[in-house]
């Protein structure tokens, strides 16, 4: 790390790769580098390594090994799940149901399919970001071929009632996909018990390498390929296998799902302390997302009258890495679609700060943030014409 203090609290954006994961990967670059499709010894070694990783992923999800397909990450998995099912089941129907708070990998894929003649329902959420199962059931038509609802939201951390939603999908005999990119390692998952037909994951969100992910596809699901070509991944996903990446994914998911409840206790208690103190110390601040049904490491708070990017810049200057739902960091002028979907006004959405805690964070990190953050908020508010107005006018809504 850099020489000055560095407190990384953006684990939902990406994680570092754990050293034991990197070590597991290394031999596959220079030594066991063979193409698993080949016949000779070093190729058989890479093939075995891929098989092992597949078993590790299957175990973490309660799936069978031959239901796991490796991809290049969460975005590819989402695209494949949705387009693949859409193209392959067009004759049955052309209606897809998803939510307003999905990741863009799902939303933009659905928008593309709308151009291709599919109809998409984007379910609303409540102020906590929760999807209502009865709304889902109401949206189903006899043309519905796919329901795609994320397991846990990347911005506000809200965990959706996946088991209930999956059961509804199954009852109506509709394929159920969940983007579990943020959920892996944070909540116990069992695709069989939860009636999940397709599930996306991405290694770099749980201390594995970037550029590798997986899609669980329940046996028998009709799905077209996204990447056509060679016979890899049982003819479903072409391309020479990213052996080192796949080995890293397998190792990482094994570590992160080994003991989910205990693992999260520490992260959650740090997050809870941070949250409680920030809401107490800083006036005109509010929690985004659900107070309990949320990812253990997710902190998302809006500070009124200020804008997120300038907050992040000051925090970065103090060595704290976070993110915001403000448009200004994404380059768009619209703030987070997720925060807006929960009913936040755009100006309050602009003032949101997301800190996502992970394995390397300590109690000292929390103390440090609790020291720095209020000062930053104060400094920016003093500069803000909205704060001025508001305090003068005595109201907090601008």
């Amino acid at each position: 790390m850099a020489s000055k203090r560095l407190i990384y609290m953006d684990h939902s954006a990406t994680t570092y790769t754990k050293p034991e994961v990197v070590n597991a990967m290394l031999p596959y670059f220079t030594e066991y580098f063979g193409n698993p499709s080949s016949i000779y010894g070093i190729a058989r070694d890479s093939k075995k390594a891929v098989d092992t990783a597949r078993a590790q992923v299957a175990k973490a999800l309660g799936a069978d090994v031959d239901e796991i397909y490796f991809t290049s990450g969460g975005s590819e998995s989402d695209n494949w799940a949705i387009k693949g099912v859409a193209y392959s089941n067009r004759k049955k129907g052309t209606h897809i149901i998803t939510t307003q708070i999905e990741h863009h990998a799902v939303l933009h894929t659905c928008q593309f399919l709308e151009k291709e003649g599919f109809a998409v329902t984007y379910l609303p959420v409540d102020k906590y970001g929760l999807v209502d199962p009865t709304e889902l059931e109401r949206a189903i038509t006899d043309k519905t071929i796919l329901i795609s609802i994320m397991y846990a939201n990347n911005e506000i951390g809200t965990i959706e009632p996946i088991t209930e939603l999956g059961t509804i999908a199954r009852k109506h005999n509709i394929y159920f996909h969940t983007d579990a990119v943020q959920a892996i390692g944070n909540v116990p998952i069992n695709v069989k018990e939860q009636n999940i037909d397709l599930l996306s994951l991405s290694a770099h969100k749980f201390y594995g390498p970037k550029g590798v992910g997986a899609l669980y596809i329940k046996k028998g699901v009709r799905i077209e390929n996204l990447i056509h070509g060679g016979g890899q991944e049982r003819k479903k996903r072409a391309g020479t296998e990213n052996i080192a990446g796949i080995v890293g994914l397998g190792k990482a998911i094994e570590i992160v799902t080994a003991d989910i409840p205990n693992h999260n206790v520490k992260i959650k208690s740090m997050r809870d302390r941070l949250l409680k103190q920030v809401l107490e110390k800083i006036p005109h601040s509010q929690l985004n997302g659900h107070p309990e049904k949320r990812l253990p490491g997710n902190f998302n708070v809006s500070f009124e009258f200020i804008e997120g990017e300038s907050m992040l810049l000051w925090l970065d200057d103090e060595g704290i890495c976070g993110s915001t739902g403000s448009a200004c960091t994404s380059g768009s002028l619209e703030p987070s679609h997720v925060l807006l979907a929960t009913g936040l006004s755009p100006e309050v959405a602009h003032g949101s700060l997301r800190l996502t805690l992970g394995d390397a964070n300590t109690d000292q990190d929390i103390d440090y943030v609790l020291d720095v953050l209020p000062k930053v908020v104060t400094k920016l508010r003093e500069m803000s014409p909205l704060y001025l107005k508001s305090t003068k006018e005595g109201g907090c809504n601008v």
């Binding site: 804008e307 300038s310 200057d317 403000s326 679609h337 755009p346 602009h350 500069m383």
Partner: protein, 144 residues
């Protein structure tokens, strides 16, 4: 992503605050879009003798406010009117393309404050040479 100059002005913004009984005030931007700038001018003998700002916005918005107020101080109103968004951006040693609208806001804020002064003086407002609009086209997306 920001130049050193932008960061320097962001971290040590000049002229933050308000002017009591200002001669001209301009407020531009929209909280919905994540930036509001309020410019305060003190004008004596057609010369801007003081300029202050309050800004709700990103790093570029704050730095642009800081730089714009610096640039107009000591100038005649005619000279100050000619301080373009490009001049602000150049003085900041460049802005990322998606942040150029922040310098536009600063130019507009100054213009609005000057015309506010002219209005109060019973003079007709000057016309914007290049009418700007808050640019919504460069719509990039959340990426994680």
């Amino acid at each position: 992503m920001y130049s050193d100059k932008v960061m320097e002005h962001f971290k040590n913004p000049r002229n933050v605050g308000e002017i009591d009984n200002p001669d001209g005030v301009g407020e531009v931007g929209n909280p919905v879009c994540g930036d509001i700038m309020k410019i305060f001018l003190k004008i004596e003998n057609n010369i801007i003798v003081d300029a202050k700002f309050k800004t709700f916005g990103c790093g570029a918005a704050i730095a642009s406010s800081s730089m714009a107020t610096e640039l107009v101080k000591g100038k005649t109103l005619e000279e100050a009117w000619e301080v373009s968004n490009r001049a602000v951006a150049e003085a900041l040693e460049g802005l990322p393309p998606i942040k150029m609208h922040c310098s536009v806001l600063a130019e507009e804020g100054i213009h609005k404050a000057i015309n506010d002064y002219r209005n109060k003086q019973g003079l007709s407002p000057w016309e914007e040479k290049h009418p700007h609009s808050h640019d919504h086209s460069k719509d990039l997306e959340c990426q994680d």
